[in-house]
């Protein structure tokens, strides 16, 4: 730690791994020891226990919602999109870091991504699942949403409205979930084979044998595998950019002040990367401490992720600035009023909190000391997690609660059911992620092997 802090000219390290991991055997043993052991750390049970309680809350919140209807939420007219859309955008945004790490950084040949891509992809999938719950529940009658959302020949002979960004969302998020699952699954095959071959217990062996589809590491298979991975990365890259752009179209295509702006797609994508990296750090730092993965997730990883967050944060800051500028430059009284209301209106406090969380605090990341200190960067990530939620709150509620007609203005706040549902999805996310960590290879073992020198005897 103290060594890393010494100032010296930057030189790329010889290996992306820490000093403890030097051979194929040690890498395989270390990563599989998390799963192929009867021992489960007590902290794991604590987190999953908390998560299960929150899932209980989620079930109650959903059951009561289905019984009573969306009236139990805080939504009203004019604020028809409350927590459901805020949380939807928040979760989807979090997911984006996983794809960025697994696809975009692969295309840029950033080898350090190898240690974190698997768990970041898992995070993507679980975050998208959490996100998906909200719009479906927001329809109020989810069992009917099938024909509202999906184009299938139903007995009523009606079809979805493809000119609506909400239908684009269905396709964007659906494709995103499918492609993320496929990419994740393909990457898991060789690691499942490793677990199959390392497992001692017959049942474990059978389960991983089944999951590995009989992968045997044939050179011809690897050849196709490498090509398929590259293509999937190439497909995921425009996909991930399109998903949050489409999410931003939900807002930008409408004519509500503060929403109807062309900066939304890039600004949403940058915000997604920002939020996603913050969540990766929020999950990976405790995990690294719990399982002693310091050789895989090194200070260099924290440093790099800190830099990505800094850049994404600056783009987000530029987005905030441009919103201000355009509100003035448009010379529209509604846009002008929106900005004034955003800063000094009834929700003004959350705007200043947003600027603090997303713009001011992350400036600490300029310091290498902060980027490489697990505690400090964890704190900064928590600020960003909160800040990104506030951003969506301000966009959704800030624009809707006071639009064109003062006679229709109203205030909005989430009810206990809004909060229960939100906390419940966090529980779902935690449990899903920790089950993944306990049962599946949380680091891509075969990719880590490629970081080791090929000529050495191991």
């Amino acid at each position: 730690m103290s060594e890393a802090r010494k100032r010296r000219p930057y030189e790329p390290p010889a290996s992306e791994l820490g000093p403890g991991q030097t051979s194929y055997t040690s890498v395989t043993d270390k990563i599989s020891s998390v799963v192929l052991t009867p021992h489960t750390p007590i902290q794991w049970f604590i987190v999953v226990g908390i998560g299960l309680c929150l899932i209980g809350l989620l079930q109650i919140a959903i059951a009561y919602l289905l019984y009573q209807g969306t009236g139990i939420w805080g939504i009203n007219i004019p604020v028809g999109w409350g927590f459901a859309i805020i949380n939807f955008v928040w979760w989807i945004g979090i997911g984006h870091a996983g794809t960025l790490i697994s696809a975009v950084l692969l295309l840029f040949r950033q080898k350090w991504r190898t240690s974190i891509n698997r768990s970041a992809e898992a995070m993507t999938i679980f975050a998208v699942l959490c996100a998906g719950m909200f719009p479906v529940l927001h329809t109020g009658r989810p069992w009917l949403s099938l024909y509202w959302l999906f184009p299938y020949p139903n007995s009523m002979g009606i079809w979805p409205q493809f000119r609506s960004p909400l239908i684009w969302d269905v396709f964007a998020v659906g494709t995103y979930l499918t492609v993320s699952l496929l990419f994740w699954g393909v990457g898991l095959l060789p690691d499942f084979a490793t677990y199959r071959d390392k497992a001692r217990h017959l049942v474990t062996k059978r389960i991983f044998g089944f999951l590995s589809l009989g992968w045997r590491g044939s050179a011809i298979h690897w050849e196709r595998y490498e090509m398929a991975s590259l293509i999937l990365a190439g497909l995921s890259t425009p996909l991930v950019l399109s998903v949050h752009s489409v999410v931003s179209f939900d807002f930008a295509v409408s004519i509500i002040p503060g929403w109807h702006t062309t900066i939304f797609p890039p600004y949403f994508v940058a915000g997604a990367i920002y939020a996603g990296f913050a969540m990766v750090l929020t999950l990976m730092l405790p995990l690294r401490a719990l399982y002693g993965l310091h050789d895989f997730i090194t200070d260099r990883h924290l440093d790099n992720m800190g830099k990505v967050m800094l850049v994404a944060g600056m783009i987000v800051g530029y987005g905030y600035f441009m919103e201000q500028f355009m509100a003035w430059y448009s010379a529209s009284i509604y846009e002008n009023f929106l900005m004034e209301n955003r800063m000094f209106g009834p929700y003004g406090g959350s705007y200043w909190a947003l600027l603090t969380c997303n713009i001011i605090v992350p400036q600490l990341l300029w310091a290498k000391r902060v980027r490489t200190s697990p505690y400090l960067i964890f704190m900064v990530s928590m600020f960003i997690n909160v800040g990104m939620w506030l951003e969506r709150f301000i966009i959704v509620v800030g624009s809707m609660h006071r639009d064109y007609m003062p006679s229709s203005w109203d205030m909005y706040s989430g009810t206990i059911w809004d909060w229960s549902l939100y906390l419940g999805t966090m529980g779902f996310f935690l449990v899903a992620f920790f089950l993944f960590v306990r049962g599946w290879p949380l680091i891509a073992i075969h990719e880590i092997r490629t970081l080791l020198p090929t000529g050495k005897k191991h």
Binding site: Y24, F162, V186, A219, I220, H221, W222, Y225, A228, P238
Partner: protein
């Protein structure tokens, strides 16, 4: 690569190596010796190994491209069919055929079809799922997914001849050579 139908009792002979570089040079020598029916097994992708055992460039990229084109056409065509032919409905005076509004969904279906096609191609071309394969009979083969590197000359090769092939493989300096039960 092929099933064993040449009358030999074994699937082939398997040589075990300690490093990717050893495996790669062994594969080159074996191919140079005239063997064609062989496969190599490694716990990580080894660059150039496919070419070394004579595997031509994979054509997955072509499959992905075709699937992507089909996906784009299907996505766009679906929307055209729904909004112009099957269920034309006037909303705010917008044209039935509102092309630019059909782009996002068509884009997503392009990616979706291409990705699904790529993964299906990967799995099917590799003949997976295949829970049993003769190479799994080789003692130590579980290390092929961990830290060892294997080269298998298959008995379907016309040049295969148990003793001769075995001594050739021995000359490559493997950890050991074992017969693969069919």
């Amino acid at each position: 690569m092929n099933d064993t139908s040449t009358g030999h009792g074994a699937h082939g002979l398997m040589a075990e190596f300690e490093t990717p570089d050893e495996l790669l040079s062994a594969a080159h020598k074996t191919y140079g010796e005239g063997y064609r029916q062989m496969d190599a097994y490694s716990p990580l992708p080894v660059h150039g190994l496919g070419a070394a055992i004579g595997f031509p460039q994979t054509n997955i990229a072509v499959i992905s491209f075709v699937c992507g084109v089909v996906g784009g056409l299907v996505g766009f065509g679906l929307q055209y069919w729904v909004h112009v032919i099957e269920y034309p409905i006037n909303i705010g005076g917008r044209p039935h055929f509102s092309g630019p509004m059909f782009i996002p969904v068509a884009f997503e279906t392009t990616i979706l079809f291409a990705a699904v096609g790529t993964v299906l191609a990967l799995i099917l071309l590799n003949r997976l799922p295949q829970p049993y394969h003769p190479v799994f009979n080789v003692p130590d083969f579980e290390r092929a997914s961990q830290d060892r590197f294997f080269l298998c000359v298959e008995s379907s090769d016309p040049q295969y001849e148990t003793e001769g092939t075995r001594s050739f493989l021995q000359s490559l300096g493997p950890v050991k050579v074992s017969e693969v039960e069919a």
